[in-house]
Symmetry: C2
Subunit: 477 residues, 2 copies
């Protein structure tokens, strides 16, 4: 096969890190820019983000949230009002110190996250329990001054959504925190075909300023874990720091309970590292911006006519389909669909057509099948898209299960992390010193305390003291 594009991709089993950047480059998802640590999201990459946005945005609106837009810049005094947040973010913000040819009297930071701005807005716009809840979301980019960057995974600027809500009662706010976690989790399962794991972060790993943080964790093909979404419960911390006061039902001043939650274009990194292979990108059909590529071989009129007939039928059913009738060779076009992760490719050649046959190829397994030209193409494609979606989930789940270990002994823990990394279930006493000890094992960190009663032992894997918390540990991106 004339497969120049695929040859530019190293095998993921040989050099996973290089394989990852090869995929990003060859599949034209993103490219480097002259702004250090920031990338250009190219059409293929941005289209995936748009698909993610449209699905999530619908879910947010269905659950009563409205989109808003807060300023990009935060005055320093505003940022400093909540001390934990400042400590967490101050080292990694960028400061604007000059504007309109003048030195500014007060520095402005580019938002690393917008709790401060939302809190300030709530403080000035909420006065009575009748104004509650406020259920807001914002789609924007944020900036964090990372030292080491990698496209989608860790970039100085990244695209995300941040939900910010305030509520009358603790119970309502806690329910919101969990509701949004579940929306993320469903999105991972149903659309991204990623068998994510949800749970609570430990005190050490929670968001700066939160009372607690829920997380969506996903396991990559190479056994490394990726924190892929978070949902935070703030209690009244921010509402007290920013003076968000309102008259409650007893006509007394009270502070509302607050949440925030977010996912970012890091999810594109997860898609790559969970599903893709040495031939390029593999996208779950439900998130693929283009679902079917039709490749006419040669410029025979009958061939082109059938290609257009199929395209029309598929498009009229809402299945994004395109015909590649460029002047490149068939081999090049086939490889292009593989590199770009188009879930289904239909090949139509003159000789096969004369025999009443076309070829349909699924991207995930690269399996080819012949179909009669008079087949019900819409039905065939729909069935195959579903199969691909489900099979991709199942394969990712099997991989996760293969790489999930239950461990009660520190030597075994170290052996796994060093030799066949994955997720490790082990007991923890709750002492942060024990958690710190585990970090010494090759950048391993607690991923989460899952929502389960499961116990794999009654002793902490580090100190041997009584332990009733099951923790999932893993190497972190």
């Amino acid at each position: 096969m004339n497969n120049k594009q695929n040859k530019e991709i190293i095998s993921r089993d040989v050099d996973f890190a290089k394989w990852y950047t090869d995929i990003v480059r060859v599949s034209k998802l993103a490219s480097y820019s002259n702004t250090k640590g920031c990338v250009v999201l190219e059409p293929n990459g941005y289209a995936i983000w748009e698909k993610m946005q449209s699905i999530l945005d619908k879910k947010f609106k269905e659950t009563g949230h409205s989109n808003v837009y807060m300023p990009l810049l935060i005055p320093e005094n505003l940022l400093r009002k909540e001390s934990e947040l400042v400590e967490g973010f101050a080292p990694e913000v960028a400061w604007v110190t000059e504007g309109g040819n003048k030195k500014l009297e007060e520095r402005l930071c580019i938002r690393p996250t917008s709790e401060t701005l939302f809190s300030e807005h709530f403080a000035s716009s909420v006065s009575s329990y009748r104004d509650l809840p406020k259920l807001y979301n914002q789609w924007c980019s944020v900036l964090r001054w990372e030292k080491e960057t990698r496209p989608f995974l860790r970039s100085r600027e990244f695209l995300w959504q941040e939900g910010h809500t305030i509520h009358e009662t603790k119970a309502e706010a806690e329910a919101e925190t969990l509701r949004m976690l579940n929306i993320y989790n469903e999105f991972f399962h149903d659309y991204l075909a990623i068998p994510s794991i949800i749970g609570k972060k430990t005190e050490k790993e929670k968001f700066a300023g939160a009372e607690y943080t829920y997380t969506v964790e996903a396991l990559m093909y190479n056994g490394v874990a990726l924190q892929s979404g978070t949902s935070h419960y703030f209690g009244q911390k921010f509402s007290k720091a920013y003076g968000i006061k309102y008259l409650n039902r007893e006509n007394k001043y009270d502070y509302p309970y607050q949440t925030s939650w977010g996912v970012s274009n890091r999810m594109i990194g997860a898609l790559i590292m969970v599903h893709s292979d040495d031939y390029g990108l593999v996208l779950p059909p439900k998130i693929a911006p283009k679902k079917v590529a039709i490749i006419p071989i040669g410029d025979d009129l009958e061939v082109l006519s059938l290609a257009h007939d199929y395209q029309e039928k598929l498009k009229s059913e809402g299945i994004e389909t395109y015909i590649d009738d460029s002047d490149k060779s068939p081999g090049f076009k086939f490889a292009k669909t593989e590199v770009e992760g188009i879930p289904i490719r239909i090949e139509i050649g003159k000789r096969d057509l004369d025999n009443g046959i076309i070829t349909i190829v699924r991207r995930d397994t690269r399996e080819k099948r012949e179909l009669f030209t008079n087949t019900d193409i819409v039905r065939d494609v729909k069935v195959l898209l579903d199969d691909i979606q489900n099979d991709m989930y199942d394969r990712a789940l099997r991989r996760r299960e293969e790489l999930t270990y239950t461990v009660t002994d520190m030597d075994e823990f170290e052996d796994i992390i060093n030799n066949r990394p994955g997720l490790i279930k082990a007991m923890w006493c709750g002492d942060s010193k024990c958690e710190e000890k585990i970090k010494e094992v090759r950048g391993c960190k607690s991923r989460c305390i899952p929502f389960t009663d499961e116990k794999v032992d009654d002793k902490c894997i580090v100190c041997g003291k009584k332990a009733d918390k099951l923790v999932i540990w893993g190497i972190q991106y």
Copy 2:
């Protein structure tokens, strides 16, 4: 009527500037933030922007454009490569000078517009005529350090889209410049119900770095003109400055021809100032995020049941409808729909219902009509939405025509601008000194040279010399 909300709005004929900010505040479109010169886009305001985005985005994609995302920050040396652009924008940019607790070696400016970044990306990603054209668009926010700010009209940060394209030939690039201008113009006519005027900017008023600039101009209710969208032809200026070279069909190095085009959330300001009135916002149905408000009066079960029945029918036809069953008074709810610019309000009361009657009210004229409860509500609403859309356009057109003058004499020119401002058609010799002279008349500027053969005289209105250019002049926001 219990109309507290409307009473907070001053009459537009008494104090137009205050009326405008009253509308922004009372209709909850935007509110002030603690970041000087930047506003918070509240749910009502952001929903209008989302509607604009979804319509325009579809048009851009139908004409072959892909969305991408470029970095927010531009290194100083990159900005400085095109001298006219730098001169135009340098005085109004914000500079990041510190990041991650360190002083940066090179300042980074927050993008005021992204020609530089797109040009740099094109330079590194285009090598052959086969890579052309590149038809890109970006939705983002940009920052310009304005001294005087007003919500939507002039804000330090604003939301916009910027299209950037490169082409093999001059003819293709010029056609693109015009195509996008026409898309904007159609959008103004068909969706915003604004009878915009298109034309070319004079040399003085064109975009810094462009060979020429087309503009979409709109006349506000008070006779002031608003530049509402622009489409620029760059020729090879940027491609030479940024070294965008490619091998052409003759296998020789050549520079592509470039365009850029943009509209911003300033269009929300135009919507307000063209259509709204002393009762609040008036939105053309095609751009209104919510089209129908149903107000049940009291909590009678039959009333509520009919309200839900109507809502279901309208929603199933894709007409965004909501029921206001909050515990506020009917008068308050009525006023709220007026303030927020909901095109149609349906009032259902127990007494009327017993007589088989409901009331339907159109926002633009505030005209009430009674309907039988068994009416075909979907048909009625659709007809009325169309009527409102068309009538709003016609009213805006009449207003524009009333405020458009043809002038051949400088005294009359000054009299009009000072006493009954609007758009003035007058001849111009092409000398920028004459253009400057006109600026002395109360901030009047050339709006555009419209695409017309019309001549209203054969002499320049300023110097009296021979003139063959018809210019539209007006006071500028």
